[in-house]
């Protein structure tokens, strides 16, 4: 079994007179390292410490807070190849680990959730599949990563706020791209947009970055995109990172691109400054020497969810923490302007989605005017009546 990296940080706790008893909280970040192709942009190269770096910052934050309460935190980070995942995960369970942040794809996450059973709480930091919040939900698994439904709803609300309801959708041919395209179809009908035309950009396995790549792109993309029905925007559904970045300046008809390129829905990005985020970015950069990625933010946030629940309950008991996290009393500041909380019908974290152009926060969804009887955040993703999840009943 090959562990890419195992990091243990032990907390030193000192008690402040008259305060709670010592509590030690152990958490694991479990990352499955899938083989990946080189990204289209080298800005998207995966750092080796992706996710773990966010964990390290959260560990420091939790420890700093915990020292005033007699709470200490122990963090372990585990990175494994897919074929070794089950054995490594079982070893963690055998060691008695009960709080596990998972960075894995949906099928792997589901299998791990079922292996873990009820005495363990998993926090899904990266898998976006809406089905995990729907008929495939698990009572022992909370979702900090936004679902595809939340991300595509965030784009749809912005497009409708702009009064750009006619969409030309270009989607990839891989399963994740198809799921994303389906999510855009749902969002379009939810918010009253119309997909006037769809085209599939087949992943034929061509070379992505060659010396002459841009020449071919400049000739091929306009031809691919010509003669589409009248549209206000182009929606790119390309989770596989095959073509979307080529669209914005190569379309036949000059239209804004949204989705996988152009204006992208993200949980967080390294240029975000509003709501005190600057100091969060600075702390991350000082600690890691690089810019933050979404995965880092989502892992940081997962561990902060645990930290906040421990701070408020004074407990490290899984059932107590899970109950508190899903209760109305739970709220957590996450540098996005409003408190993040959890949906008690499927374990999904409610959170604003940032719309990012690669340089700045262009907008934040939910958009003004999208109201909900519970919280405007519930206009993004699966609402209670829409979710087939029953594990949380």
């Amino acid at each position: 079994m090959k562990f890419l990296r195992i990091m243990l940080i032990f907390g030193v706790s000192f008690l402040v007179a008259g305060q709670a008893l010592a509590v030690d909280v152990r958490a694991v970040v479990f990352r499955i390292d899938y083989p990946t192709l080189a990204p289209i942009s080298r800005f998207d190269l995966l750092p080796e410490d992706v996710g773990f770096a966010g964990a390290q910052l959260a560990q420091e934050d939790n420890m700093t807070t915990g020292q005033f309460l007699g709470h200490s935190y122990t963090l372990k980070t585990v990175g494994v190849a897919p074929q070794e995942a089950d054995a490594a995960f079982d070893a963690l369970l055998a060691e008695g680990e009960t709080l596990i942040i998972v960075m894995a794809n949906a099928p792997d996450l589901l299998r791990l959730s079922d292996r873990a059973g009820n005495g363990v709480l998993l926090l899904n930091a990266t898998a976006r599949d809406t089905t995990l919040r729907d008929d495939q939900c698990r009572a022992n698994t909370l979702h900090v990563a936004p679902s595809r439904a939340m991300l595509t709803d965030a784009v749809a609300q912005f497009a409708m706020w702009k009064r750009w309801p006619r969409w030309f959708m270009i989607h990839g041919s891989n399963p994740a791209d198809q799921l994303l395209a389906a999510s855009y179809r749902t969002s379009a009908s939810k918010f009253g947009a119309k997909i006037v035309e769809e085209r599939e950009f087949a992943d034929t396995g061509g070379s992505r970055r060659t010396d002459t790549g841009h020449v071919l792109v400049q000739k091929q993309i306009p031809v691919f995109a010509q003669d589409a029905k009248d549209h206000d925007i182009v929606i790119a559904a390309d989770e596989s990172d095959v073509f979307a970045p080529y669209l914005p300046f190569h379309l036949w008809t000059p239209r804004p691109t949204m989705g996988s390129a152009g204006l992208r829905p993200v949980s967080f990005h390294p240029a975000h400054e509003a709501w005190g985020a600057t100091q969060f970015q600075r702390r991350f950069e000082a600690l890691t020497g690089r810019y933050l990625r979404e995965e880092d933010y989502q892992v940081w946030l997962s561990l902060r969810v645990i930290g906040e629940a421990v701070t408020r309950t004074g407990s490290n008991d899984v059932a107590t923490l899970r109950g508190y996290i899903l209760s109305d009393a739970f709220e957590l500041a996450a540098f996005k302007g409003v408190a993040v909380t959890f949906r008690n019908w499927n374990g999904q974290m409610r959170q604003p989605i940032l719309l990012y152009d690669g340089r700045i926060t262009v907008s934040v969804s939910p958009q003004d005017g999208y109201l909900h009887q519970r919280s405007p955040l519930d206009t993004l993703g699966l609402d209670d009546p829409e979710s087939a999840c029953t594990a949380f009943d």
Binding site: E60, F68, T311, P376
Partner: protein, 324 residues
């Protein structure tokens, strides 16, 4: 007639100095301080004040202006007459809010990036202490008896009570998400702590020996304003301890709290993203900084109404009024 006119003019001339105070406003994005006259409410000067000036206070004699130049990692000190930069004080990295001992020294400074409170002697310019606190220290308050300096940490969500004798934390009180600011009543029996994301003001009772106990939390609600926008930030309490004014950030309102009943009695509409506030020494007026509309609003304290807004520099953050 001629004689009467002269008399009036003479009285006005004599009276003016007693009522006019300089009002200093830090402009976070503009890198300047705007100076207003509290009689005419006109901007009389705008001067360079370092990078990202935020926290601002003034010496008890009104001669020295302290400005936290956050991106310069120092506190700059200006002459309040000439607006000349005299020197800077070591502050630790990224100073944001601070509070000055009423004797004029030391200055207690929150260092947001380093989870520290730095105590700096304003005479010797020496750092007296560095106190480790929670994550993202922000609000700073000093008890009226100067025995306690309180720091709020935004990610840890606590008010830390630091003894000014030995600079050690003696008490911690958990409050709601992102505590931004803390302010004691004049009699020292209550401490108000605002939680920006929690949307509440925690009211902490202070016992004779300084032991804090959370009494209650005050929430806000206003028809036509999303609850998410009601984000309390700055606080000021009248010296008779009757009224507390709470700036509500993006709700563009200042809430008025009846301190005896601990209830919100009124909301005053001001400029956009109202942040910090300061009274004139006679407490006739309260000046609010409005970060998004680049202005300050003047509130008539007795009437609890906004009477005027004045354009200042880019993204006004903090405000202090010179003493009489």
């Amino acid at each position: 007639m001629h004689h009467l006119f002269l008399t009036t003019a003479l009285v006005a001339a004599l009276a003016t100095p007693a009522f006019a105070n300089k009002v200093f406003v830090t402009n976070e994005k503009g890198n300047t301080v705007s100076v207003l006259d509290s009689d005419t409410w006109e901007v009389i000067k705008e001067f360079e004040a370092g990078h990202r000036p935020r926290g601002i206070t003034i010496s008890p004699d009104g001669k020295l202006l302290y400005v936290a130049a956050s991106d310069d990692d120092q506190v700059k000190v200006f002459d309040t007459d000439t607006y000349e930069e005299l020197y800077s004080l070591p502050s630790g990295p990224d100073p944001e809010q601070f509070v000055l001992n009423p004797t004029g020294s030391p200055l207690y400074i929150a260092n947001e990036d380093d989870n520290l409170v730095t105590v700096t002697d304003t005479d010797s310019h020496m750092v007296l202490a560095e106190i480790p606190v929670g994550v993202e220290p922000e609000g700073m308050a000093l008890s009226p008896d100067t025995k306690w300096v309180v720091n709020t940490s935004e990610t840890t969500n606590m008010a830390h009570f630091i003894s000014t004798d030995d600079y050690k934390i003696k008490h911690n009180v958990l409050v709601d998400q992102r505590p931004r600011y803390a302010r004691f009543t004049d009699d020292g029996t209550l401490l108000f702590v605002t939680s920006e994301i929690g949307g509440t003001v925690s009211v902490i009772g202070i016992a004779e020996d300084g032991t804090p106990t959370l009494k209650t939390k005050i929430g806000f609600g206003l028809p036509g304003v999303l609850p998410e926008w009601l984000q309390p930030v700055g606080v000021r309490v009248t010296t008779d301890d009757k009224w507390a004014f709470v700036a509500l950030g993006p709700a563009n309102r200042v809430a008025v709290i009846d301190v005896e009943k601990l209830e919100v009695v009124k909301y005053i509409l001001v400029g956009q993203r109202v942040w910090q506030m300061a009274f004139t020494p006679d407490e006739k007026y309260l000046i609010t900084t409005n970060g998004n509309s680049n202005d300050v609003t003047v509130i008539d304290v007795a009437d609890q109404t906004a009477i005027k807004s004045i354009q200042v520099g880019q993204q006004p953050w903090g405000v202090v009024v010179a003493p009489d």
